[in-house]
């Protein structure tokens, strides 16, 4: 009965919505062709870049073998696979705790950096961004050798002072530790960029009515930061679900599977990519759930904190507490960056890695090997160009998409959110296969060129830009843009002169994250690369696998320095703006 009355009205409403949306679309085309071209172009580009490869994979998923008939066999067989539930449980356990710990670390750090008078703020920010540059497999190896139960340097040091590690590196807890230090910057950067965009008058108002600092933080700042917080949490949660390298290195030794390692197992021997899409379904479900939770949590509430009633943000004075906070931030930066990186630096100067450090064992040989290898130059140049282009495309594309989602009634906006987010938690190997399937044929014969790598990076990381841009746009009052429109500026000019500059903080953070994370991308690059299209991580990996850890470490150090310098350069070029006002 209820259904009878409900469904027609629901259907009716949907039809009316769709009709209204289509009307708006047609209207935009008539009245604002440039806006139409940009928005629809961006939507089509996103649909093409994401929908095409993923769609192709899903299509293949219906075929048992190559050209076979269409069945659900693959999807069914994936879910009948033993141990999938265990893997799922482990994934949730690990991602859940990783997310929680990342929150505990990142929230105070972000607040301290964005809002207080704590010293060394730039250093802390740079360190947490740099955490992203070191290739993950190198970080994991470093941790394994630092925390290894028999010979780990940290383990031995702790033993010498009568202490023991509270967990085994080869365990789920060990993985949580590594992942937390690896991923907390995602929350840190989302939150910090949102915090520094926030109209300080909210906090000042709360301070004026006598709320203490902590109370203000809890009852005024945090609720306004909810969108940033939620998206940071989603990023960490999904990324920790989608990561493969670290869980593989640690999970195998710790004797447990997570979803991605389980999926990997399904692909192998013989590789059956038609299963890839099916196996990725659980991860895609999490993406959908995450988006849904976000929508539910944030709903139609307004989070506009940048309205054009500007107020200078005065850093909150912490007194002596700032030293405690600084110590905490430095500890995290040390654990997350310096400890693994110093292992790298030391290894890069050893002639024989694994041996004790002594004068005879120190050498510059690894660096001379680099100097003599033209492929290192190629890789560095490829890596920088690819990452620069991917970050830029991601950011520009994301702005258009986000603007459409947040500011228009155009139908299918929810689908765009989904398309932007879904590759994030999609296994990289599967994504790479999807891209090869498309780009090996004309008309877009990109396989074997740098272009396919660029597409892969863009597709995989657009979610970052999407999330950051969305948070930033949510904070930006539409009236800021409308003020420009009534003054005679067209849509494009308004975007260029008002929207983009005001979103700069969030966009710059997204850009830097994507740039850094692309520099270290390995999983897809290694499948795509041909002579001339090596990237830095590929070179490192190859040296590493050839048993020359010292050279791999030396290249990593070089990469680190270059990336650090580029990030710094970019920051100093685009980083001037609102905050300095």
């Amino acid at each position: 009965m209820a259904d009878d009355t409900l469904s027609p009205s629901l259907a009716g409403r949907l039809v009316r919505r769709a009709a209204a949306g289509a009307g708006e679309l047609a209207h935009t085309l008539r009245q604002e062709p440039i806006k139409f071209a940009v928005l629809v172009g961006a939507a089509l580009l996103l649909a093409g870049l994401v929908g095409w490869p993923l769609g192709t994979l899903f299509w293949k998923g219906f075929q048992v073998k190559g050209d076979g008939p269409f069945t659900l066999t693959n999807y069914i067989s994936v879910f009948q696979e033993g141990g999938l539930i265990d893997a799922l449980e482990n994934s949730l356990y690990i991602s859940g705790w990783t997310t929680l710990f990342s929150l505990l670390i990142a929230v105070p750090m972000a607040w301290a950096v964005a809002r207080t008078d704590m010293p060394l703020k730039t250093t802390i920010t740079a360190a947490s961004a740099a955490t992203f540059v070191v290739p993950s497999f190198i970080v994991v190896i470093s941790w394994i050798f630092l925390l290894g139960p028999n010979e780990g340097s940290v383990t031995l040091f702790l033993e010498s002072i009568g202490l023991a590690l509270p967990f085994r590196i080869f365990s789920r807890e060990g993985l949580i530790f590594v992942l937390t230090l690896h991923l907390y910057p995602l929350i840190f950067h989302t939150l910090a960029s949102a915090l520094s965009n926030m109209d300080a008058s909210y906090e000042e108002a709360a301070g004026a009515v006598g709320a203490g600092k902590l109370r203000t933080l809890w009852s005024v700042t945090m609720p306004l930061m909810l969108p940033a917080l939620v998206s940071g949490v989603i990023l960490v949660f999904l990324d920790s679900l989608a990561l493969f390298g670290a869980p593989r290195a640690i999970g195998l030794s710790g004797r447990f599977h997570v979803l991605t390692t389980k999926i990997y197992v399904l692909f192998r021997h013989p590789p059956r990519f038609e299963l890839a899409a099916a196996a990725a379904l659980p991860l895609m479900c999490f993406t959908v759930v995450a988006l849904w939770v976000q929508k539910w949590l944030l709903g139609r509430k307004r989070f506009t904190t940048l309205t054009g009633r500007a107020a200078g943000a005065k850093p909150i004075e912490l007194g002596l507490w700032k030293w405690a906070l600084l110590a905490f931030c430095l500890l995290i930066a040390f654990l997350g960056l310096l400890l693994p990186v110093s292992t790298l630096v030391i290894s890069s100067f050893l002639s024989s890695w694994g041996e004790p450090i002594s004068w005879e064992n120190l050498t510059l040989e690894s660096y001379t090997v680099i100097a003599d290898s033209p492929d290192v130059y190629t890789a560095v140049s490829n890596g920088l160009r690819l990452s620069f282009a991917a970050a830029t495309i991601c950011v520009l594309l994301a702005i258009a998409i986000v603007w459409m989602v947040e500011r228009t009634e155009i139908p299918g906006r929810g689908l765009l959110s989904f398309l932007a987010m879904v590759p994030f938690a999609f296994p990289s190997v599967a994504l790479a296969v999807g891209l090869i399937l498309i780009f090996i044929h004309p008309p877009f014969e990109l396989y074997g060129t740098l272009w396919i790598i660029l597409v892969a990076y863009t597709v995989k990381r657009i979610a970052f830009a999407y999330i950051f841009a969305r948070n930033a746009l949510k904070q930006l009052s539409p009236e800021m843009e409308e003020a420009a429109r009534v003054l005679g500026a067209g849509w494009l000019r308004t975007m260029g002169e008002v929207t983009l500059p005001l979103l700069k903080g969030g966009l710059a953070a997204a850009w830097v994250l994507i740039f850094s994370i692309c520099l270290r991308e390995l999983t897809m690059s290694i499948l795509f690369y041909l002579p001339g299209t090596e990237t830095m991580a590929v070179i490192v990996f190859n040296y590493f696998e050839d048993g020359t850890f010292e050279v791999a470490a030396a290249i990593s150090v070089v990469i680190l320095v270059i990336s650090f310098a580029s990030v710094y350069l970019v920051k100093s070029v685009i980083g001037k703006g609102v905050q300095e006002v």
Partner: protein, 359 residues
């Protein structure tokens, strides 16, 4: 004959299933200041935004200077309407200096650098912000920021200026000052303004004519005094100023006078309204303003009622009194010497103090 600047014909706007603006007609003449007044959700801002071009009407038309800028489902973009707008949130751009904020519209018009500079300077002086051109908005107070927003809208010499609750974020004192300033500017520059507010006093100061809106519909369009003195509907009477609303039934009409039976303990004598006739038996609503009621004084005569003073509050300039008369409570104002509470008092309401509502 004044020229028509803006005309709304049957403007209708829906959001999903909710009708936000329903069949609104309005004409704004050149040089006129029209205020849209109403509680939040009454459709006044939606109307303004439709005029600006930020939403597309679902029905009706909008004409500016005789050009149709919007019709059902069609709407030319805001930048092609030649309007200026001041926003509730000011919307001054924090990444641009005061100068750059104001110069923006001129730059868009492609004016020469020197002309931009000159007109920007003039606009700044107009809003008395002369010395602050190089500042960033964050260094300004709220009032100063709103002046920047005003200058930014005025500098392009818009054919029509729209203001959306421009003063609601300011503190009370500043708000009062700015009302007069805006009104003054409007006169001096001969601006045509469409102004949205929920503050009736602001409306009174700024408007040549006030449009009272409720639930998406226009209740009354009239000059401020007429809105106050001669509200057309119960809603207008209640929304604009304090009013005692009394329902009654016409009992007698004679000699150009009417007597109405009400919950008050005696029939009320009223002057019949213009435009419609009263006949015995008709039910009517009547309004009397607190300040038109005299409490105390002679205990008999025309329009004198006996009542009991129930509550009494000192407001500084006068007393706010509540008097029970028959089955009705009347809010009254008394000057300095109000009788103490719980006392029987006489209440005088002259016939011309009553206003009979049309609906």
């Amino acid at each position: 004959m004044a020229q028509v600047k803006l005309e709304l014909r049957g403007l209708t706007k829906r959001f999903d299933d909710v009708v936000a603006v329903n069949n609104v007609d309005l004409v704004v003449e050149t040089g006129e200041s029209v205020v849209l007044l109403g509680p939040s959700g009454c459709g006044k801002t939606t109307t303004l935004r439709a005029v600006a071009g930020f939403n597309r009407p679902d029905g009706g038309e909008i004409h500016i200077d005789g050009n149709r800028v919007a019709a059902a489902g069609e709407s030319i973009p805001p930048e092609k309407r030649g309007i200026g707008m001041v926003f509730q949130s000011y919307a001054v751009w924090p990444h641009k200096t005061v100068d750059a904020n104001i110069a923006f519209g001129l730059r868009i018009q492609g004016l020469s650098r020197s002309e931009v500079a000159e007109r920007t300077k003039k606009a700044l002086e107009l809003v008395q912000m002369g010395g602050l051109s190089g500042r960033y908005p964050a260094e300004l107070s709220g009032g100063q920021q709103q002046r920047v927003a005003l200058a930014r809208a005025l500098v392009v010499e818009p054919t029509l200026l729209l203001l959306d609750e421009p003063l609601s974020n300011l503190d009370a004192a500043l708000r009062e000052e700015m009302r007069f300033e805006i009104r003054d500017l409007q006169h001096r520059l001969g601006l045509t303004m469409l102004y949205v507010t929920h503050d009736q006093q602001e409306a009174m100061v700024v408007a040549d004519r006030v449009v009272v809106m409720n639930l998406g519909e226009v209740e009354q369009v009239a000059p401020p005094e007429e809105i106050y003195r001669r509200p057309r509907t119960r809603f207008v009477a209640g929304f604009v100023g304090q009013a005692n609303l009394i329902n009654g039934e016409v009992s007698e009409v004679r000699d150009g006078r009417a007597w109405i039976k009400t919950p008050l303990n005696a029939p009320c004598q009223v002057n019949p309204p213009e435009g419609f006739a009263l006949e015995p038996g008709r039910e009517v609503g009547m309004v009397v303003r607190p300040e038109d009621i005299t409490v105390g004084g002679s205990s008999d005569g025309e329009g004198v009622f006996r009542g009991c003073l129930e509550r009494r509050a000192f407001l500084g300039q006068n007393y706010d009194l509540t008097v029970r008369v028959g089955d009705a409570e009347l809010r009254c104002q008394a000057p300095k010497d109000a009788p103490p509470a719980t006392e029987d008092v006489s209440v005088h309401i002259p016939p011309e103090a009553w206003w009979v509502l049309e609906d």
